[in-house]
C-alpha cells in the first residue's frame, strides 16, 4: 500500500544523487564564469567538440589542436600581465548533439571556464552560442559553417572560419580566374551539393557569383549526405548535360563516393571543383581514392603550409599524435590563441572585458587568409578567406592565389585524362 511513496523517493533519490555526483568541484559557485578562473595561477578555457560519435575524427583532432595551443602559451610563460598565469584546457564531449553540447557548455562555464572554443557541428554551435550569450562568456567558434549563428545579434560569439557566403563567392571567383588564366574559361558549371544548410548556402552563393562572371549553371543536383551510397546516376546526368566543370559541396564520405563515380562514369569534365568540400583537400583523400582523385580542386579555408609556424605545428602534431594535422585542428589552435591574446591585452578574466578585448583582436593566423584575424561587429572574422588547393601527384597542394601557392594549378585537370 505504501508503494507510491516509495516511487516518489525512488525518483527523488537518483536525481539528487546524480546531480551531486554530477561533476563540478565543490565550491565553484559558477554563474558568471569570470570570478572563478582568474586568480593568478590557472585560467580555464573550455573546449567543446564531438569526441565520440560520427564526427569523432575531426572532433578529437580539434581538441588536440586546442591543447597544443594551451601548451604553447604556457611554455611561452603564460599570460604575462596576469602574473604569468597558466592556461588549462577543460574538454567537453558534445557527441555532436545539441542538448549534450548545451549541458557540457553549462558544466564548463560552471567549472570556471573564462571562454569557450568549439564546436564543429552547426547545430551544436547555435546552441552553445545561446548558452554563452546568456552566461556572458565569450565563445570563439573554430569550425561551424551555418551563417545563421552570427545573425542572432549575439555579443559574445565570434567565428574564425569564413562564412558560407565568402567561401562560395571566392570559390566561383577562383574558378573564373584560374580557368581564364589557362585560356579555357569555364562555361557550363554543374552543381552537386548536399541538401543541408551548408551545401545549399554554398550552392546559392556560388550560383550568384558564377552567373555574374558569365558562366551558366546547370544541372543543379542535391543529395542526402547521410544516406547516399552511389553517385553514378548523378554524374551520368552531369555528363549528359554537357557541363565542363562540376562544383561539389559536401562532406568526406560523399566526396569519396563522388570521386569513385567520376572515375567510373568518365564525365569528360575540365575540372571537379570542390567548394569547402570535406574530402578533396584532406590528406587522406588521395590515399583513399587513388588516381581517381588526381587533379581535383577545392576552394576552402586552409592551414597555411607556406607559413613556417604552421609547418612547425604540423610537425609537432605529427610527433605528438602520429597523424597529419587537419585544418580544423589549426582553427582550434588559433581560437585558443585568440583568447590567450585577448587575456593578455585585457589583463583580466572578467568576461565582459575579455569579450571587448577579443572584439579588438588583430592576430596573425596559421590559416591562409586575407590578413590577421580581426572581427567585425557581428563577430565574423573579416579576413577569413578560402584558398584553392588541388590534388597533384597524390598530395594536396596549395595552388592559388599565387601568394599562397606551393605549385601552379593544373587546368584543365580532366580527372581521367
Amino acid at each position: 500500500m505504501r508503494k507510491p511513496w516509495i516511487a516518489a523517493v525512488a525518483v527523488a533519490m537518483p536525481l539528487t544523487l546524480a546531480a551531486c555526483g554530477g561533476s563540478a568541484p565543490p565550491g565553484t559557485e559558477g554563474t558568471g564564469g569570470g570570478e572563478a578562473g582568474g586568480s593568478g595561477d590557472t585560467i580555464t578555457i573550455g573546449s567543446l567538440h564531438p569526441l565520440s560519435g560520427a564526427f569523432a575524427a575531426d572532433g578529437q583532432q580539434m581538441d588536440n589542436g586546442a591543447q597544443l595551443a594551451v601548451d604553447a602559451v604556457n611554455e611561452a610563460g603564460g599570460i604575462e600581465c596576469l602574473d604569468g598565469a597558466q592556461l588549462e584546457l577543460a574538454s567537453g564531449d558534445t557527441q555532436g548533439a545539441p542538448e549534450v553540447g548545451q549541458s557540457e557548455a553549462q558544466r564548463l562555464i560552471q567549472e570556471g571556464a573564462v571562454a569557450l572554443v568549439g564546436t564543429y557541428n552547426s547545430a551544436v554551435s547555435q546552441n552553445v552560442a545561446a548558452v554563452a550569450e546568456r552566461n556572458q562568456v565569450p565563445f570563439v567558434i573554430d569550425v561551424s559553417s551555418a551563417d545563421e549563428i552570427l545573425q542572432q545579434g549575439y555579443q559574445y560569439t565570434f567565428r574564425l572560419q569564413p562564412s558560407a557566403a565568402v567561401l562560395a563567392q571566392r570559390g566561383a571567383q577562383y574558378l573564373a580566374e584560374v580557368s581564364e588564366q589557362a585560356g579555357d574559361p569555364a562555361q557550363q558549371v554543374a552543381i552537386l551539393h548536399e541538401q543541408g544548410p551548408f551545401g545549399t548556402a554554398i550552392a546559392q552563393g556560388f550560383t550568384a557569383e558564377a552567373e555574374s562572371q558569365g558562366m551558366t549553371i546547370g544541372p543543379v543536383i542535391s543529395y542526402d549526405p547521410a544516406s547516399v551510397s552511389d553517385f553514378t546516376t548523378q554524374i551520368t546526368a552531369v555528363r549528359e548535360a554537357g557541363a565542363d566543370v562540376m562544383m561539389v559541396a559536401g562532406y568526406y564520405r560523399d566526396g569519396v563516393l563522388v570521386a569513385n563515380a567520376v572515375d567510373t562514369v568518365q564525365p569528360g569534365l575540365d575540372a571537379v571543383w570542390g567548394v569547402a568540400n570535406g574530402a578533396f583537400d584532406t590528406p587522406q583523400f588521395p590515399g583513399e581514392v587513388g588516381d581517381a582523385g588526381e587533379g581535383f580542386f577545392d576552394a576552402n579555408y586552409r592551414l597555411d603550409m607556406t607559413n613556417e609556424d604552421t609547418q612547425a605545428l604540423a610537425e609537432l602534431y605529427r610527433e605528438t599524435h602520429g597523424d597529419d594535422i587537419r585544418t580544423a585542428a589549426v582553427l582550434s589552435y588559433d581560437a585558443v590563441q585568440v583568447i590567450a591574446d585577448a587575456l593578455g591585452r585585457a589583463c583580466s578574466t572578467d568576461p565582459t572585458e575579455l569579450r571587448d578585448a577579443i572584439s579588438e583582436t588583430e592576430l596573425d593566423s596559421l590559416i591562409a587568409q586575407d590578413g590577421p584575424i580581426a572581427f567585425d561587429e557581428t563577430g565574423e572574422n573579416e579576413n577569413a578567406a578560402p584558398i584553392l588547393m588541388q590534388v597533384v601527384d597524390g598530395t594536396v597542394q596549395q595552388v592559388f592565389p599565387s601568394e599562397y601557392a606551393e605549385t601552379e594549378p593544373v587546368y584543365p585537370a580532366s580527372p581521367n585524362s
Partner: protein, 351 residues
Amino acid sequence: MTDPTREHGAPPLDRGTVSTEEPPQTTQLTTPAPGGRRRAVAVRVAAVVAIAVVALGLAYWRTGNEVVVTQAVLTGLMIGGVYGLVAMGLTLIFGVLDIVNFAHGAFLAVALYITVEMVGRFGAHPYLALLVSVPLMFLLGAAVQRFILSGAMGKPLENQLLITLGLALLIDNGLLLFYGPNPQSARLPNDTGINVFGAVVTVGRLLAFAVALVLAGLLYLLLQRTRLGTAIRAVAANDSGAQMVGIDTRRIYMATFAIGTACAGAAGVLVAPLVTIEPTTGELFNIVAFVVVVLGGMGNVVGALVGGLLIGLTEQLGALYLPGQSPLLSVFIVFVLVLFLRPQGLFGRAA
C-alpha cells in the same frame, strides 16, 4: 524457405503479421499449400511489369535522357543487391526469433573492420576476408544469442529493441575505441568500370551483386534441403509445436542468429570496398535493411533479395522524380504503402 511464388489465395488483409492470440512466430517459412499459384503468379508478374513500365516512363519524362535512366536503373539494381545482401541475415533473424535486431548494422561494421585488418595487415585481397569474417561472425552471433539475447526471448518488443540498440552502441563505440575515428578503406585492386548500354558499373559492384545472388541461393538451399533448415522452418512456423516433435528450439534460435550474423559478416566484406569505413558505417544500412525485410516478407530470404533490388531502384528513380527531396523519402513512401496494402510483404504468403 518458402518459394515466394507460391501462395494461398487468402484475402490480403487477413494476414501474417504476428497476431495476438496465436503463438507469435507465425511467419512464412512454412511449406505452402500449392493452391491457386499460377494465377497469383501471373497477376503479380503483370502488376510488376506494369509498375516498372510506368516508373521508367516517368523517369524518362522527368529527365529526357535515356542514358541517365539506364544508369539509374543499373545503379539501383547494384545498390539494391547490396541492400538485399544486408537484409538477408536480418530477415532470417526477424522471421525465426521474432527479434527486431538493431545490432545488425553494427555486426556489419565489425566485418568491415575485419576486412580492413586482412587487407592492411596481410595485404590480402579484400574478398579473401570472407574466409575469416564468415566463421568469426558466426561464432560471435552464436555467443551473442546464447549469452545476451536468450534472456530476452519472448520478452516484449521494447525490451528486445533496447537490448539490440545497446549492443549496437557497444559495438560501434568499441570499434571507435580500438580503431579510432579516422575513416579507413579496403579498395579492390584494379576496380574498373564496365559499359552496359551506355551506362557504367564497376567490377566491385557487379561482384557484390553476384555474390548476393549466390548467397541467397545458398541460404535458400540450406533452409530447404538440410535437416537444420527444416528444423529452422519448423521453429519459425510454430515453436511450441516444434518443441513437441523433439526439436531443441534453443539450439535452433542460436543457430539461426549465428547464420544471420554470418550473413552480415559476408555482406560486410563485400560492401567494404564500396564504402568509407568508419565505426558508424553499418548504421547506414540498418534502416533500409528493415524496409527491405518488410517488403520481402519477414523470414523470406529470396524476398529480401528482391525487396533490396526494388528499394535500390526506388531510391535511384525516386531521386529523378523528386529532385531536391531525399531519396529516402520515396523509400519510406513505398514502405508505408507496402505495410498498409501487403503487410505480409510483396512475396509473403498470407497466413
